[in-house]
């Protein structure tokens, strides 16, 4: 497994080439490109902001709620994008995959990389609202890259698992769509981890809840601007451990199924 990882690292130039091409297709070839990639999370955040502050009286999250939402929505969009795109990572460019002898992991990493770039490029939106509300960041902002790193680890694991499985089983894609929609509400996007802790949920279930690595990760992102809302490092550690477990799972599954996948595409 280490040799596989090393050969991926050796091919990083190719990875850069592929990610560069993805971004080029998305941004350079359409003037509205960048706008589109921030429009989705921004609009969704506005909708939730409207529903939860204007229609319902909001009992979760923190003020300013729109900033709170965006700090969950943007990383969520990254996750969702990776999950959906990695399900097609090997089939959408099947001809490329079939005609080049690369470490096939590259095709999945490329998806995670280009979605990550999109996530990072959408962060100025957060900055905009920070300026609007004149929020000062807390020291936790130093940990922001750490949260990105943990999330990337988790997503690489998920992507490496999903990509070959969706090739071999035709109905997994549909299942994935349902699961992501459920996962959205089971992750602290429109509410925070602390809201879960304060809820009437049984204690045992709360422990299960934070096993979803996105809980600890999103909480760490938010700590940069909502430090009093941060539930603590133990949740982050759980997220990191679970993410590493996913990475190991993904690498194993991918290596196991690679031969069969190549016959199918």
């Amino acid at each position: 497994m280490l040799t596989r990882a090393r050969s991926v690292v050796e091919r990083r130039a190719i990875l850069r080439l592929l990610i560069g091409r993805d971004l080029k297709v998305k941004y350079a070839d359409s003037t509205l490109g960048y706008f589109w990639s921030i429009l989705d999370p921004l609009l969704m955040s506005l909708v939730y902001w409207f529903v939860f502050t204007v229609i319902f009286s909001r009992g979760v999250g923190r003020e300013p709620y729109i900033l709170f939402l965006l700090l969950g929505m943007l990383p969520w969009n990254w996750s969702q994008g990776v999950i959906h795109a990695s399900a097609r990572a090997l089939t959408s460019d099947a001809k490329l995959v079939r005609s080049t002898n690369l470490s096939r992991e590259v095709w999945v990493l490329r998806v995670i990389g280009s979605q990550a770039m999109e996530f990072l490029l959408s962060l100025p939106v957060v900055l905009l609202f920070v300026l609007v509300y004149a929020k000062t960041p807390s020291w936790y902002i130093v940990a922001f890259p750490l949260a990105v790193l943990i999330q990337a680890t988790f997503l690489v694991g998920v992507g490496l698992t999903l990509a070959p499985v969706t090739v071999l089983f035709s109905d997994v894609q549909r299942l994935v769509r349902i699961v992501t929609r459920i996962l959205f509400y089971l992750s602290p996007v429109i509410y925070g981890v602390q809201d879960v802790y304060k809820s009437a949920m049984p204690e045992a279930l709360k422990k299960v809840y934070v096993l979803n690595p996105l809980s600890g990760i999103f909480d760490l992102y938010r700590a940069a601007f909502f430090p009093d809302f941060f539930v603590g490092w133990s949740e982050v550690i759980v997220a990191a451990v679970v993410s590493c477990a996913f990475l190991a799972l993904g690498m194993t599954v991918f290596a196991r199924l690679e031969g069969r996948v190549l016959k199918e595409i």
Partner: protein, 249 residues
């Protein structure tokens, strides 16, 4: 002679009845319903041989004999279920040469992308770009999306990108059958130049002319089994005898 390709007991299995991809249900209920995929067949079985540096090997066999599959395994784009293939040195695969191209990108972008995917550095690509374009004769269409290319143009472009790689091993799968005569002659010359430069050649072809022109050694695959490995003329004689016998029956 230093061995560059070592195949040891290579076998690969395909499922005959796998018309479509499986559904999860079929895996979960496999035992109960008894839907274990039946009718597996081995496209290749127990194939062992060694190719030395600078050798030119021709691969013959009837359709479905496993020639292309073997070539793909050597190229590393299929993985054997049994045995192993060790390839020492990089491979320039002239297999599905147009496969690496993306329809929406221009020829220019496609050259950069494909050459990059095959491991050429940015500087080398820039250096060889003009030569690639000149050889493929697509100069005036460089900024046209690849999907508008004629099939001949696609193959020409593919051929010239892959043959501009520095790899010591060249795999050729009947690409020479495409393209007009003038271009084919150009391809022959380039391949001869590559061979005299000490490259190892592995050629799949149904054309005895092509095989005789390039190869000295012949491998014969019959129904996934390697039945002959020797001087090209002997292998061709055996293959032709088989074909004649089949014709009589």
């Amino acid at each position: 002679m230093r061995p560059v390709i070592e195949a040891d007991g290579v076998g690969i299995e395909f499922h005959l009845n796998r018309k479509r991809r499986m559904q999860l249900r079929e895996v979960l209920y496999r035992r109960r319903v008894g839907a274990i995929p039946q009718g597996n067949f081995w496209a290749l079985r127990n194939v062992s041989f060694t190719v030395g540096e600078g050798e030119a090997v021709g691969l013959v066999g009837a359709n479905g004999g496993g020639k292309s599959t073997l070539l793909k395994i050597i190229a590393g784009v299929l993985l054997p279920d049994e045995g192993s293939v060790a390839v020492h040195g990089g491979v320039a695969p002239l297999i599905e040469v147009t496969g690496g191209f993306v329809g929406d990108l221009t020829a220019r972008d496609n050259i950069t992308l494909t050459a990059g995917l095959h491991g050429l550095s940015k500087e080398t690509i820039e250096e060889r770009f003009d030569e690639i374009v000149e050889f493929s004769e697509v100069g005036e269409f460089l900024d046209m999306p690849f999907r508008h290319f004629s099939s001949g143009m696609k193959v020409r472009l593919g051929f010239s990108v892959v043959t501009s790689l520095d790899e010591p091993i060249v795999l050729v799968d009947e690409v020479l059958a495409v393209g007009d005569r003038a271009f084919r002659e150009k391809c022959y010359l380039r391949m001869e130049a590559m061979l005299s430069g000490g490259r190892t050649l592995f050629l799949v072809s149904h054309s005895e002319g092509d095989l005789r022109r390039f190869c000295t050694r012949g491998l014969y695959l019959r129904k996934g089994e390697l039945v002959a490995d020797g001087p090209l003329e002997d292998t061709l004689a055996m293959y032709n005898e088989d074909l004649d016998n089949r014709g009589k029956r």
